[in-house]
């Protein structure tokens, strides 16, 4: 069952690469929808009262090093798998049939989805690493060969090199876990049960943290993100922004903390990551304020919101980490929706410049309505999803240190400023320019039904998770291995 979740898009992707354009799109959509159905079945039949990995599959792989092909889901990964499949399906659907070299594009997207599914499924550290690196290859080609802007090659290479510095350091960490843990295995539960000595843990912690912090990204390792997001084509951006960043946060919860629960050496490391997270929250929000380009604005706001996730994780308490998981899902829902809206506005007006776009709402009321809901969700309005996650992470952070929570609130204060200013400016400001206003004369038609259908699931989820977060939180106690909070 679980093997099918990563094999289906991998095989499907390889086949889609060689299909002609029209058939490739149909095939890719079918594969993506089947994948979504598969993950929904797993989520629906998931037993929230069961402790340990469910649907586990284990087979010996490289016996000499105790590497096993070990898959499983637990309360942490089950909803992230669904998110991956959902965003993957939306991304495939959002790819127009007329896309350049559509077959290869769709095939690579499915391969990347497969890699990320593998990351969420792996219960073996080496297998986790294999999937972690494997998802980078399609991402590189997607970003480079289909990238927008002046220098997609530069953005793609920067993205790969940044990520690789982190992940190759993690490779040393992975091997270090095997060598220094008395378990001498790559199996995650066994490694978590027998962590190495605290001083060794300190070194391993730093190696793993580097990889995950680049992927999320945590300030100050975020400089690849604006370049990558700016040049990423929209369908790929949904996967990149919606899911790939979450693999880093997931790695922190799945690998970093359980395997190195008490790293101490020279200083009290507990403060390092929360402080970086808070700086990231403020930094991203301030830079979002300064952007004129819509896409860049959303990209920087994404850095800010990812800060809350890291803050929640390293609050090292139950509220914080539950909040982090909820926020991972929220971010995976809101940011793709925002990028879709930005792309649609760009398609209609030919501009992403905030100072040029004004008074679009009368011409496209439905788009304005959708944009309003997404804006409200993004700035954390109670009743919509983001509020729940941010509230819980801040609650957790307050228990660690009230000052951190207060500092984190800067992000909450700045978010309405940049989001509302963006929304109001683009949608409702009077068109009061001269007749040769740049925005005049462009196609001003409202959302098509297809577009509405594309974003509808995301809108629905914003309300569902906002009003009923228990849906995902209740699964959390069913963990495959001890999360940090359980013995802190």
């Amino acid at each position: 069952m679980l093997s099918a979740i990563w094999i289906l898009p991998a095989l499907g992707g390889l086949i889609v690469c060689f299909l002609p354009r029209g058939a490739a799109r149909v095939g890719a959509i079918l594969v993506a929808l089947a994948e979504l159905a598969l993950t929904l079945v797993v989520a629906a039949t998931f037993d929230a009262s069961h402790h340990g990995y469910q649907y586990a599959e284990q087979a010996s792989w490289i016996a000499q090093f105790n590497v096993s092909y070990h898959l499983g889901v637990d309360g942490l990964s089950v909803w992230l798998l669904v998110l991956n499949a959902l965003i993957g399906a939306l991304a495939v659907l959002a790819t127009p049939a007329a896309w350049p070299r559509a077959s290869a594009f769709l095939g690579l997207m499915l391969l990347m989805e497969s890699g990320m599914a593998g990351v969420f499924l792996s219960v073996d550290l080496l297998l986790f690493y294999v999937f972690w690196e494997a998802m980078l290859i399609p991402a590189y080609f997607l970003l480079w060969l289909w990238g927008e802007g002046e220098r997609p090659n530069y953005a793609a290479l920067k993205f790969v090199l940044f990520t690789l510095v982190g992940s190759l350091l993690m490779l040393v960490g992975v091997l270090g876990e095997y060598v220094f843990s008395s378990a001498h295995t790559f199996d995650l539960p066994a490694l978590a049960a027998q962590p190495p000595s605290p001083a060794i843990q300190f070194g391993l912690f730093a190696l793993f943290a580097a990889a995950f912090a680049v992927k999320i990204p945590v300030w100050p390792l975020h400089s690849w993100l604006p370049d990558a997001y700016m040049s990423a084509p929209t369908p790929f951006l949904l996967l990149l922004a919606g899911v790939m960043g979450k693999t880093g946060a997931y790695g922190m919860l799945r690998v970093l903390l359980p395997l190195n629960p008490h790293p101490v050496n020279w200083w009290d490391w507990n403060w390092v990551l929360p402080v970086l997270a808070v700086i990231g929250i403020a930094w991203g929000a301030l830079l979002a304020l300064a952007q004129r380009d819509l896409k860049a604005l959303v990209a920087y706001s994404s850095i800010s919101h990812m800060g809350f996730i890291v803050l929640g994780i390293f609050a090292l308490n139950a509220q914080g980490q539950e909040g982090a998981l909820v926020q991972m899902l929220n971010h995976g829902i809101i940011v793709p929706a925002l990028f879709l809206i930005v792309a649609w506005i760009y398609a209609r007006t030919g501009s992403r410049d905030r100072s040029v776009l004004t008074g679009l709402a009368p011409a496209m009321p439905v788009l304005a309505g959708v944009f309003l809901v997404v804006t409200m969700a993004a700035l954390g309005l109670p009743g919509l999803n983001s509020f729940v996650g941010e509230f819980m992470t801040l609650l957790g952070a307050w228990q660690l240190s009230p000052w951190l929570a207060v500092a984190g609130c800067i992000g909450l204060i700045l978010a309405p400023i940049y989001m509302l200013r963006l929304f109001q400016g683009a949608m409702y400001t009077e068109v009061a320019g001269p007749p040769d206003h740049p925005a005049e004369g462009v196609v001003r038609k409202d959302m098509a039904r297809g577009e509405l259908a594309l974003i509808a699931p995301l809108l629905a989820l914003m309300f569902v998770l906002g009003l009923y977060p228990y849906l995902v939180v209740h699964a959390l106690p069913a963990l495959g291995q001890g999360m940090q909070v359980l013995h802190w």
Binding site: V67, V130, V179
Partner: protein, 498 residues
Amino acid sequence: MIAAAQVTYTAAQAWSDLAQIGPIVAVTVALLVAVVVDLLLPRGLRGPVVTVIAIVGLVSALAIAAYRLVNGYGGPAYFRFVSGDAFALFFEMLFALIGVLAVIVSSSYVRRRGLYEAELQVLTLAAIVGMMSLAAAGSLVTVFLGLELLSIALYVSCGYNRIELPSQESAAKYLIIGGFASAFVLYGMALIYGATGTTVLSDIATRVTSDSAGNPLLLLGVLLMGVGFAFKVSAAPFHMWTPDVYQGAPLPVTAFMSVATKAAAFAMILRVFNYGLGHLGPEWQVLLAFTAAASMVVGNLMAIVQASLKRMLAYSGVAHAGYILVGVLAGGRAGVAAVLFYLFGYVFMNFGAFAVVSTLSGPAGDGDLYEDLNGLAYRNPTLGVLMSVFMLSLAGFPPMVGFFGKVFLFTAGISAGWTWLVVLAVLTSVVSVYYYFRVLFHVWSPLPEAPVRFAFGPVRGPVTVVLLAGVFAVALGPLSGFLLQVGLNGAAPLLSGR
């Protein structure tokens, strides 16, 4: 020494000894037959027939080695001068495989470049006999014999395209520097013989204990041999010859040298250092650790600035020698097995990359610039995809074999306490991604407006080889458990002596 005179050598013993070196015999017979056939046959038939003979000889060597590996294998033969152990069999299979690939690529290349075919195949066979003897060596004498046989054959191969100046330059450089390195090795061997009174490795292993570390003769011998070995594996700072020789030599020769010579030289290092002088570990490890670190840094940094693919791959080979040395330093069964595994994988990814480049050559010359790869993925999708696989494997991306090779090497390295070297290896391999991805950039960039320098001629042979190598490079990754077991078996003989 004198004792040899008293030994009675029975016919049964002779047959058993011959069986121990079966693969070497097979290639030697093919070599001799090929030489005679080359003399007797009419001109038009010589090339193809010699190629077929070479392939038959190599495949039978492969079969003999595989058969002996499966059905139990012996130990020393010919008064412990040669060994038919699992270590030797592993390398004999490896060299036979490389030989088959090289012969196929050469055959197609020489036809396109209008060169004479038969002699190059004969030289390749001679080099392989040398390499196999090196891997099977049980004594310093055999080591040197194998080393010289492979070197002399390769000096000639490098200058094979004798009407072209770069090829002559390549041969001359390789001859002078190679001769220099051989002299170093020989001097080192002489000193070790002086210190221990024997050239047989198993005797050296028992006579050299950790107490011998103070013996200046031994230390000087280790130093000289270490320098010579570093020349042969093209490890920094003794790598200077590599780029020039690789660039000038005909492409199939470069491809063959880049993987086979490296593997043979590592077999020699493992035999002499890890086995014979195992107790002097702390002494030679200092030397090799410095060499490994320098190779990673120099190889990766210099590869960035190259415009020629041959030179880039030469420097990348220097860097890979650095990674492999981590496994040599780690030693033990895990370390040696990791080295064997990595060499096996490296053969396919590096040879595959060279074979792709060799398809770009025409009567006018070799297309070895990055620009010559432009749009390869659209001109010939198979080659484009496979070149990407080789680059990703060299860069160490899963699920390709290069990744698992690094995992095994680095695990052994960390276990043995070489963590700093592993961290350096990891950081420098980030640098390597830059130049490997530069190849991907050219392979996948849209077709250029201007006509490409080299259109495809009849290249069926190399494409087969590339395909084969590509399948290996991908498939050996997920199946790495099996290959690692073969490596572990191969590593065992080096440890039983101690």
